[in-house]
Amino acid sequence: MANMMPQAADNGRMPLIAPPLIEARGVVKRYGSLTAVDGLDFAVMPRDFQGFLGPNGAGKTTLMKMIYCLAEPTEGTLRVFGIEVREDPRRIKARLGVVPQENNLDPDLSVWDNLMIYCRYFGLRGPAVERRARELLDFMELWERRDTIIMHLSGGMKRRLVIARALLNEPEVVVLDEPTTGLDPQVRHLIWDRLLELRDQGLTFLLTTHYMEEAENLCDSLNIMDHGHIIAAGRPLDLVRKHVGEFVLEMVADPELEARITREHPDFSRQRSGQRLYLYAPTSEALAPLVSVYGSRESRLRPTSVEDVFLKLTGREIRE
């Protein structure tokens, strides 16, 4: 895959001031009385790998659909490649790669035919795009399967094919809506490797996911969404430092014990979830004394992760 991204792969340097590839200002999306996205502002710069995290119904998929023009914003401006999404979707979509949440491949056709039909929608035909399709199938380790009908592919193969399909038109930005949901760890790691390789070649990515590990592995910056808002944004490590500190003590504690801890150590940031109590601190030393006093077999002192930030900000209750 030496030369997958001809137009994006410059000599490793970006111009000093590059315009954002995607720019949202006050973007609102309403479906009747339901407000799915409620005033989003963000920018995606060239070569970003931006993640959008959020509980179900936070508005992630709606946002992705607005970017690839399958939904229209109700208010605000959303520009992709400098083009307002309601004005010229065709020009935007020609330069985007889309991996939707659902594998919408043509089930009756073979792997190869799926790609050959799809590239026609972009007005692409002939040896050049066939060569590219072959490279992409190699890249996604699907070349051996090129004649297999889609319904006989495994879930992981379908997903890899959808990603390959999204790259056919040599996009500048790729939108990934939950690219690895429901896949086994081997396939997930394969997909992550490939996406990082593409990022290193200069591609820009937008990702939604429920896997914090995925967000941490892939994304340079994260947006945590809830109820249609971005409630926190930044680099993963900065988010961890800012919102939870780098260590957490996770313990089983009844309200009585919690009251006692609160009384004796009021300066720790705390969160309760059912039986469990979470105490956050910037260092493990700060938490160590508590382990010896209140600790039990269920206590764990561990480094924090984006997941702790996520659960702290969006709450630990289940969303339906």
């Binding site: 939904a71 307002e84 309601r86 043509d106």
Partner: protein, 295 residues
């Protein structure tokens, strides 16, 4: 603003509140943004609709044996049952033998049913169960082009089956050879008409059960009113205007006029009516489908 809101003395006349702005700020902003709103309906269609047609044709070609044979056999059964079975008991009808009379009716109903099935169950299956339309609309193809591609593919199915049936009718000596291209063109238009109407329905339904209502509640009963199987003169006077209001009646009358060599001046307004309603249904289907696909 703030000082005038609280008058200095209660007895002073309170100035009327400022008139509300004509439009809310959000609407104002929207009006500016939408200055360049892209066209809608048929005017939004570019040549990419052909790629949607190609996709359907490609899948059809792969599965042609199961797709093609049953609908091909059905009209022959009608031809046998009506033309030879019922026809045996009828010496002449409307001045000709029954097979000659009923052949155009069977031809047109075959055409419209093909497009109707394709653009109801077929399109709905692609749209709702396979998310094919969503996949296509995420590319530079727009919803209007997807819709027109589907309608044209429905009409192509009509043309395929009408073509096969026409070969048989030629062998039976019921078709003037020189007029075959015109007859087939008419079948294609009939396919476009019913494809557009069907896709309009498809764009509005949430379950396939509604198609049963459309087919057994509208298409099949209306067929009985349109002179496909017996002359319209046998219909009660009160139903005559209803029958002629249905464009299908004109499609059958035109096809019969050609096949029995009795075209007259009424063909022109009938053709215009068929074409106009086809364009109307297509425009409505394209607009409705956009609303369905772009949330």
């Amino acid at each position: 603003m703030t000082s005038s809101a609280t008058p200095p003395h209660p007895s002073w006349p309170v100035p009327p509140p400022p008139a509300p702005p004509e439009r809310e700020p959000a609407e104002e902003r929207a009006a500016v943004e939408f200055a360049l709103r892209p066209p809608r309906g048929l005017t939004a269609v570019g040549r990419r609709f052909l790629q949607v047609w190609y996709r359907d044709a490609y899948v059809f070609r792969r599965l042609w044996k199961t797709n093609l044979l049953p609908p091909l056999i059905e009209p022959y059964l009608y031809l046998l049952a009506l033309g030879l079975g019922v026809g045996f008991y009828i010496s002449t009808i409307d001045g000709v033998d029954y097979l000659s009379f009923v052949a155009p009716g069977i031809l047109v109903t075959t055409s419209i049913l093909q497009a109707t099935f394709e653009c109801t169950y077929g399109s709905y299956f692609r749209m709702a169960f396979q998310s094919t339309f969503d996949a296509i609309v995420a590319t530079p193809v727009n919803p209007e082009e997807v819709s027109l591609g589907e309608i044209c593919w429905g009409a192509t199915r009509s043309l395929i089956n009408a073509g096969a049936l026409t070969v048989t009718l030629v062998i039976l000596g019921r078709v003037p050879l020189l007029w075959i291209p015109v007859i087939l063109a008419l079948q294609f238009v009939a396919g476009l008409h019913f494809g557009a109407l069907s896709l309009l329905i498809t764009s509005r339904v949430r379950q396939t059960e509604y198609f049963n209502f459309f087919l057994s509640g509208v298409v099949f009963p209306v067929q009985m009113l349109t002179g496909a199987f017996f002359p319209l003169s046998r219909i009660p006077d009160i139903l005559q205007p209803v029958a002629w209001a249905v464009p299908l009646t004109s499609m059958i009358d035109l096809t019969r006029g050609i096949m029995l060599d009795r075209l007259d001046w009424t063909a022109l307004p009938q053709l215009a009516y068929v074409l106009a309603t086809t364009v109307l249904f297509a425009e409505l289907a394209l607009r409705s489908m956009r609303r369905r696909l772009i949330a």
